[in-house]
């Protein structure tokens, strides 16, 4: 059986760079707010996800 680390590494590798970066942000915010008030986090995540998507290079950009 593969170890937990391998399993999570594979799962992480399957994520896009954007998803990995976003997941790191989520984990950081959750850790930072673990014992604090967390009611704003869902809206924060939604806003950050939207911001990340908007920041994508548009078709034709950079070409």
């Amino acid at each position: 059986m593969i170890t937990f680390e391998e399993k999570m590494a594979r799962l992480g590798a399957a994520l896009s760079e954007e998803s990995r970066a976003f997941t790191r942000q989520v984990l950081d915010l959750e850790l930072r707010n673990r014992f604090g008030v967390r009611t704003q986090l869902p809206e924060e995540f939604a806003a950050r996800a939207l911001k990340a998507v908007k920041a994508r290079p548009q078709e034709g950009d950079g070409e």
Binding site: F4, S19, L27, L50, V53
Partner: protein, 702 residues
């Protein structure tokens, strides 16, 4: 630990626990009633403000003797712990008013600086309270051991939750929940009226599919807790129902009904006899009338025979005869004698109306006699019937009069009263002496209903994974459809892409959360096998299933059924495994290395959290007791064991593994002086003192 006025511990008492891993045991010997369980609860109260299951009188913490001397005395427990080079101090106290209200004050410091109570709970998570501070007498936690005949047994301890708590797995739980909420955030929904019908419909379909999936996922998380609670409820209800013996209750109720019926019947007889007596009393005058009336009738008959009634001579004719001094029929002059006779006759027939009333009276009297006879016959029949119900009462004669009848009824009343009192007394005695414990409500029905709730929840939980897969497929299809139809609307595309991003992240955290449980289970399985081998050195293999239930295998593929003693050893191994994992998992959590290290953790007796096990051998047959006592030093680097002085000899056999020994010296009235022998010396363990109700003092032996 320092106790101040804690339950039976009067004044201040301190215990310094052994911290030598080669002598891991701190033994606290105490006679029954000295407060061993109270000592265990001093830990749980100080750290969590809570008590172990079955600990009574929770609002009665302050030592009574101290409170009697000074009503402002408080109860206080102070614990000093050290971990990773830091010193943690927690002090919890309560005044009399606070203990009554169930409140208290708590003060926490770390290395001398004030800190939050939560910092102690990070060190010793509340989810593991029942493991670190274990009332062995309540062995209910042994339900983690798998049992094929009672598959639905539950434990108050959720092991997966406990393991995730040690690993700070709540962060992953929170992330999943927050991401799910984010996916339904208003900022990711269409904020303006969708003009394109196709996009509008696709958006609605997506929202609906997403909401259904979110609800199913929410249920997947929420239902296990509900199920655990429902199982605990069902088990409690079952235990309550089992306390009552339906056969005994039915038999008692039948006997009660029988005796109650006898009372009611006897009372009916008393009432009936009294009523009959009343009727006879009301008719008592008839007894006299029965003699007087026939005499009156006879007189009236005689008067009639004499021609006085109805009168054959009119009174007016007699008056005229006297007025004229001659007979109106023959004209002969009246002599003096004749005049006298006529006057005499006039007196008797003077009032013809009175004579007529005499006739009427006779007729009434005759009717009355007739009715009296009927009444007498009827009452006589009733008395005969009543008398027939009493074996010792003779039936009245056929011509019995009222007096005779009353005598018979009087006899019946005395007997009926006696029978009634006897029946009542029998019923009262029965109620007082033989009443089995009976529920006030139908506990069996309640238990069945609660079991049905459990089954329903189990069915729902079993169906959820398949349902979630279906909903995920539907949701993905709806999102793909929406994405396809949103071409041209940049805002709509951005929102669907943001949802995909959130979804990817959520899937990652879900895998992490599930992995913490699954690989934590593997660590736990390895740890419990190691602990079990350290303890009993038996060639058993222990397997931990997905629900953290433990099965024992002896090399074959079929699990073996452990004996009661083996189950307790397994349970102690279970405690040891968690306590050994605890410091490693907390270190992993501190390093934020959960996803890298969980699943590869190995444990040993050299490292582990301390545990307090109250009376660990109380459930044992004496021949297993030695085995457990010998094994305990191999369990963990620090174990605190409050134990009865009864088996002190066994503990002395492992004296080299015991770092500290204390005696809980009990002083009370009605107690005889007793000693316990340790290290070749007799030590006082009980003192008699009629001036003291109960007082415990902690005395250090080594």
């Amino acid at each position: 630990m320092t106790l101040k006025n804690w339950r039976s511990f009067h004044g201040e008492n301190s215990i310094e626990f052994s911290v030598n891993p080669n002598q891991p045991i701190t033994l606290i010997l105490g006679p029954n009633g000295a407060g061993k369980t109270a000592l265990l609860n001093a830990f749980t109260w100080a750290i969590y403000g809570e008590f172990t299951e079955g600990f009574d009188l929770r609002n009665d913490l302050i030592n009574h003797e101290a409170l009697a001397v000074n009503s402002s005395e408080i109860v206080q427990v102070k614990l000093v712990l050290s971990d990773a080079g830091k010193e943690f101090v927690i002090t919890r106290s309560a005044t009399a008013a606070q203990q009554e209200a169930g409140t208290n004050d708590v003060f926490v410091s770390i290395d001398g600086s004030t800190d939050l109570e939560e910092s102690i709970h990070k060190l010793l998570p509340k989810a593991l309270k029942d493991l670190f501070f274990f009332p062995a007498e309540t062995f209910g936690i042994a339900k983690v051991l798998r049992s094929d005949d009672r598959q639905h047994e539950t434990s108050t301890l959720e092991i997966d939750t406990a393991i995730r708590t040690l690993l700070a797995g709540d962060v992953y739980d929170n992330a999943i929940r927050d991401l799910r909420t984010a996916e339904n955030s208003g900022s990711l929904k269409s904020t303006r009226r969708v003009s394109d019908d196709a996009i509008g419909q696709a958006n609605d379909a997506w929202s609906k599919a997403q909401a259904e999936l979110a609800e199913a996922e929410r249920l997947k998380e929420a239902l296990p807790a509900l199920l655990a609670s429902a199982r605990a409820d069902a088990e409690r209800a079952q235990k309550i129902a089992e306390q009552y013996d339906p056969a005994k209750i039915e038999e008692w109720q039948r006997e009660f009904a029988k005796r109650s019926t006898v009372v009611v019947t006897a009372k009916t007889e008393v009432d009936r006899a009294n009523d009959l007596y009343l009727q006879l009393a009301r008719g008592a005058y008839r007894h006299f009338v029965a003699k007087a009336v026939p005499a009156a009738i006879r007189r009236l008959d005689a008067a009639e025979a004499c021609g006085l009634i109805p009168p054959r001579i009119d009174g007016q004719v007699l008056q005229r005869t006297l007025d004229e001094g001659k007979c109106l029929l023959c004209g002969e002059k009246l002599s003096d004698h004749g005049t006298h006779r006529v006057k005499d006759l006039q007196l008797r027939v003077a009032d013809s109306a009175t004579a007529l009333r005499g006739l009427e009276a006779r007729s009434d009297l005759k009717n009355f006699v007739e009715r009296s006879d009927e009444t007498l016959v009827r009452l006589r029949a009733s008395v005969v019937d009543l008398a027939s119900r009493f074996e010792n009462v003779a039936s009245p004669a056929k011509d019995a009069n009222f007096v005779h009848l009353r005598a018979t009824v009087h006899e019946c009343i005395a007997l009926a009263d006696r029978y009634h009192k006897r029946a009542e007394s029998s019923l009262e005695d029965f109620k007082a002496a033989e009443q089995p414990e009976q529920p006030t409500t139908n506990v069996v029905q309640i238990a069945v209903a609660k079991q049905l709730v459990v089954r329903e929840l189990e069915d729902r939980i079993a169906a959820l994974p398949g349902r979630i897969r279906e909903l995920q497929t539907a949701r993905d299809a709806a999102l793909a459809d929406l994405t396809a139809k949103s071409k041209g609307s940049k805002e709509a595309i951005n929102k669907t892409e943001a949802i995909r991003l959130l979804d990817d992240s959520k899937a990652f955290f879900q895998a992490a959360r599930d992995g913490l449980t699954e690989y934590g289970r593997l660590d736990f399985e390895r740890a419990i096998n190691q602990t079990y081998k350290d303890l009993v050195r038996k060639p058993y293999e222990l397997r931990v299933d997905a629900n953290f239930r433990i099965s024992v295998f002896d090399g074959s593929e079929k699990p073996v059924a452990p004996s009661q003693a083996e189950r307790v050893l397994l349970l102690i191994s279970f405690l040891g495994a968690i306590a050994r994992l605890a410091p490693q998992y907390q270190q992993i959590a501190r390093e934020k290395a959960q996803l890298r290290k969980v699943g590869d953790v190995t444990t040993s007796a050299a490292e582990g959290f301390p545990v307090v096990i109250d009376a660990p051998t109380s459930a044992f047959d004496p021949r297993y007791e030695r085995e457990v006592v010998q094994a305990l030093p191999r369990l963990l680097p620090q174990i605190v064991i409050p134990v009865s002085d009864g088996s002190v000899g066994l503990w002395e056999e492992i004296a080299s593994s015991i770092g500290r020994v204390y005696i809980m010296e009990l002083t009370s009235k009605g107690q005889s002086d007793q000693t316990v022998r340790w290290g070749g010396k007799d030590r006082v363990i009980c003192r008699a003192d009629d001036s003291v109700t109960t007082r415990t003092k902690i005395v250090q032996v080594i």
